[in-house]
Amino acid sequence: MITKMTHACVYVLNQDSALDFYTNKLGFKLVMNVPMGKDIRWLTVSPPEQPELEITLFPVTVGNMFNAETAKAMTTLVKNGTFGPAVFSCNDIYATYEELKAKGVEFTKAPKEEFYGIEALFKDDSGNWFSLSQMKPA
């Protein structure tokens, strides 16, 4: 049976910029930053309280993973905010919202009470969108 998620992939347009965004703005921890060839690194970060989950910041560049046509299409899709890869949780959404806004993170939805908890939406530096949620106690 499946027991847990260890790696997830977020496609980014620039690994340097993504590293800055995820560590300095979101406060994630850098786990791996290893050169794997020209213009590509194996770059992973973890949420501060979830070191067992590595989020791979994978570049949308032409190479073995993407041919030129796919890379171009992926770049457009990422930029346009097509992908919403994950939901992040926090203990206090209003404080987290204020902090991330102060650091320049772009929100597309301010915290709002929903039936499942309080949710806000923000974008990373590439265009991927994420939910920031404070779930209701079970």
Binding site: T6, I40, W42, D92, A95
Partner: protein, 146 residues
Amino acid sequence: MNKDLKSDQYPKIYLYKRIVQAKLFIDNHYKEVIDLNNISDEAYFSKFHFIRLFKKVYGKTPHQYLIAVRIENAKVLLKKEVSVSEVCYAVGFESISSFSGLFKRIVGKTPSIYITEQMELKSQMLNSPLDFIPGCYAEKSGWMKK
């Protein structure tokens, strides 16, 4: 929303901004000697009220949070092979013994052992990265052939 922050005295978002500003002040000034009394003054709270609200939001008192930020930044520097004494002062501690003691209590090992372990891990990652990368990504990226 945190019930303690539902004060009739201030609009709730104003309270959050004050607490967040105090947290960001610690994030940005942890290297310096920080007088937490000044932070509560700047946040326009009484010291007791400030500490209580800060702990409600972040789960730690401002002092505990400052120590945690210093230790986390110490870990980042130690991973870069900066010496223990340099790291101690670079992150705002004034005594190597108190830094080492706090580090061991929080991280579970001394700064020296932490450096050794991190260097070993870094070396393994650089020399054998495929031991750390899920095979599916490595294969699709064409790294398995190398």
